[in-house]
Symmetry: D2
């Protein structure tokens, strides 16, 4: 399959209370609200000049509608559609305008039941990169990646690497040499899509890039001041993996968002993936407090792109669930 | 004279346009507006729990009404009043409430025609130290010091050191051993009152302490975004003197405010003043661009506390006006 | 008792391995090594111009020899000595030179068995405040305070407030109105000596001031890179109490050191202590992971200034040991 | 021409004093010294896992030997060689090993007399990304771009855009609609090669990416402490163009290096170049002091890849030399 997938582009998530979501994402985190029609909140980061990178849709059914990737052109979209139909993954087409501010798009359940979206065109708006008067909260710069929790990492990894043309930047293996996690990319950063072992498929988190570490500290202070302390699930700390200085938050519906900085360049053809041992304590946390249990257990449901229903999930079998160190 | 002067406490400045002043100090710099009666703007820093540390009074007559210092008690106020009367500096008394939110106070023209105010009591309000949702712009923490430009530094220095009990942290001398500048303190920081050689007496600037260097950078970005680039007169850079990481701004009426961070502790009795040579290029600017001419020439008029008229000023005579290095 | 105690000035601690201590304090944390005679390591912060603020003495007997405070003059030392003798706390005198680089000093076990030292004179050395080429690791600026764990906080608090002239900046009370912790100061910052409820008397930690939050993050990265991850016990995070952005480390002998920034000014006579409820989750941690159990249980032994033996300790009785919130 | 040029990859510069160069680049700026054979200094940034991105070669002839770009494969190298030969730009071939640590390479004088190098292979070494104990000075992360000063921007711009497949992120035009500057990229950042109007062709500067703004401040402090204040030519400040938070330094031979942070993502096909008016004061400096005259006048000679001699340069004709604003 030869389609040019460019990058992680937008997340579409259902939320039960749009006002609560706005309070969290806009008032606290400082996302820019491009539009709000009372049913959908269209949000973007400060640097982004496309209409949105996050759609929060009001719904009584929680869950993630799709992980959206931008492709290079209409031809790439057609290549992808043909590929998926060919492997018996029915494709759902959207014409330009079917989705607000979006051009033609397809949605599909991939072979491992992850809802994917691809499109090549979205309306553009003003970038607020130089509008520092609008920087607040986490000073969210731009969407960066998705992290999916799946019961069997290696086959999903193989699918994205071998079929969709992703490259691997880092990966983790357990003592018995099973792949426990994988970080894969299309744009030359550490990841567009990461995979973590666990009950799934579910969305572990979606992540935004911040331009410096002080923005991570600032949002902690602001969240605490606004009564959102409990939304801080993990961090701040630094992962060995990806070198990320990170903060993990739970939104009012329990969806996890990562705010991070500290990426590196992966665009050279001779770049070699970095292998980590699962029980290397520096892997998950170069420094910082242990991840709480919720971090290994909780994730957001994926919704079937055809039915809107949560997909069936299962436990990972025969794989170590958490690292073997007291302070992980 | 034995009165316990605690610290620099408030600046009272006339401004010609209260809305423009608010736009600059509150909307851009992020001062907290305690009250605004349409004639006065009462402002404070994030940490401050007293009603204000800056009063901007609407007036067609520009200038600085007084440099306000906090004293320990009523007894200290009386000691100061008696002292000034005794040296033929008539004292103007204010009863509690004569000035909004303030207790008893005196104002006096000191022997070198600098308008001083002393008081021991001001209404208190909530400190926003832990209200990080209110941190914006320069995240102004608290008032720190005044800097007066005077035509003959040494005698003013001697008055504050010998009569009012200030201590000297750093000072600058010219090649012919004339004192060119002096940094003096009561609270254990680098300064409550600094003196700079030049046409005066005038107020060179008043200064606020910021809690970290990134706040200095942030306000530069915000000022530029809000159309206030021209208000940035000098910096950011680091002074050798005081180790300050500084930024000098001109408000819409041309009054200069310094935002800085990087102070140090001066509270030990064996602390020795640091002497600088005027032509040492590291003195004024450890690094950073040269100060523009305006920095050596422009300052705010002091107003006579009795008449409200600008005080007579004169040039400094026989003293080098600017440093002798191309890149100073 | 009317002696003028200026501030927290030096900690004297026994360590079992001087090389390991140097590796931690000098190579990792970036303390300046003033001198090292093979038996003692004399260390100071970047800003400090006194010979040292930390003495690490090689000894097979772990423990804290004394908490050193600087007083204003010889007269103050004599006043303190007379006071302690009068309340039956025998005073041990040191002549100038008896202790390296130090002038006259006294040591005494206070009424609650805390080993205190007072002195007014120490040799001076160069301040490295402007030597940024020497800034590394945590960029440690200056000593700030001690924190003692004591079984009954209120009586110790009363002794320091009523007898030694400390002031209280913040304090914590339990539901049944028992004082659980107190922050007390002489210099106008949040604390020179804090008290925490627990098995004691023991030294909970000694603390150094850093000039900005990024120094806290930097030392985490450096510690992890140098193999000292396990020395990070708690943080980074922000206390509600004192507004400190903090990091707690254990040195190779298990002594706890706090690195922090984010202090505020407490020097006005009308400053009111801030009261916190023990179970207010924002008190201990405005944000950040819960303190581990070790933080409530482990502390360093105090050594008797006369015998060199560890002092007898006891449990706190009838007082809640930890906060009642899951995520404290 | 269809070759896949990946990114700016290495600068090769002659310097007259290798020890002085090492003192500046390694001891002050904190570059990692991969190797030093007494004739060449091979340097890299903290993140870089290739052998070097900067070669300083000892020579009595100052100047820039070549601007090195990495290409995807040997085939791309051959495509480029054929293309240049075809337009009468003779190609100089290097076999693997002819240049230390480098694979096959070509060098060529492009049609505007800029010395270019292309290669697809370099030895790899350890990345120090996670070795925070080695972070010092400017904490230089990775090479980012070149900036060439040329007498006629538009034709050079057209060559790189139309022939070599670069894209334009931002550009500046004068009032009479002449292109004054252009920022062009291959990797999805603001630039790999920028062009500035002026006497040339010469190398205006080469630039390294830093991971945060505090690293820019830190290197200013360190340079001042080590006696390198005079090496700071311009900044810190923020460009409107590219949103860069920048610092420009002159090395001991007068070569200019930019340290900067604050880039943004340009990788989408619908990304539109941003057009700036030359006299827009926010273009060059969103905030910060005016650029000194040296910044418009001084640059490093390019050396002919065949003869080693400095290339002939000429003035730009009929183009405004500096912006028309007092404070530019």
């Amino acid at each position: 399959m030869n389609a040019n997938i460019i990058r992680t582009a937008r997340t579409i998530i259902n939320v039960t209370d749009l006002d609560a979501a706005k309070d969290f994402y806009v008032n606290a985190l400082g996302f820019i609200e491009t539009e709000n029609d009372g049913e959908h909140l269209y949000l973007r980061g400060l640097e982004e000049y496309h209409h949105h990178s996050l759609v929060l849709k009001k719904s009584s059914q929680k869950g993630v509608q799709a992980l959206g990737f931008k492709v290079y052109s209409k031809a790439d979209l057609e290549t992808l559609a043909a590929y998926f139909e060919n492997i018996n993954c029915p494709v759902k087409w959207f014409n330009k305008g079917d989705q607000y501010a979006l051009g033609e798009a397809i949605r599909v359940m991939d072979p491992h039941n992850i809802p994917l979206e691809f499109y090549y065109e979205m309306e553009t708006v003003e970038s607020y990169l130089r509008r520092y008067d609008k920087y607040k909260g986490a000073r969210v710069q731009r969407i960066d990646h998705f992290n999916a929790m799946v019961p069997e990492v290696e086959s999903v990894h193989n699918f994205f690497i071998n079929e969709l043309g992703f490259r691997c930047s880092e990966y983790t293996v357990t003592k018995d040499n099973k792949m426990w996690a994988s970080w894969m990319y299309r744009k030359p950063t550490v990841h567009d899509l990461a995979l973590t072992n666990g009950h799934g498929p579910r969305l572990h988190h979606f992540a935004y890039f911040l331009s410096d570490p002080t923005s991570v500290l600032n949002i902690c202070d602001v969240l605490a001041s606004l009564g959102f302390s409990a939304s801080i699930e993990r961090g701040p700390g630094r992962h060995g993996v990806s070198n990320a200085f990170f903060l993990y938050l739970k939104d009012p519906d329990g969806n996890r968002i990562e705010l991070y900085t500290g990426d590196y360049y992966t665009g050279d053809p001779d770049f070699k993936p970095l292998k980590w041992d699962f029980d290397d304590p520096h892997r998950q946390t170069l420094w910082g407090h242990p991840a709480p249990d919720s971090w290994f257990e909780e994730a957001s449901a994926f919704l079937n792109v055809h039915t809107g229903e949560p997909v069936t999930t299962k436990d990972s079998v025969g794989v170590q669930k958490k690292p073997n160190y007291a302070k992980y």
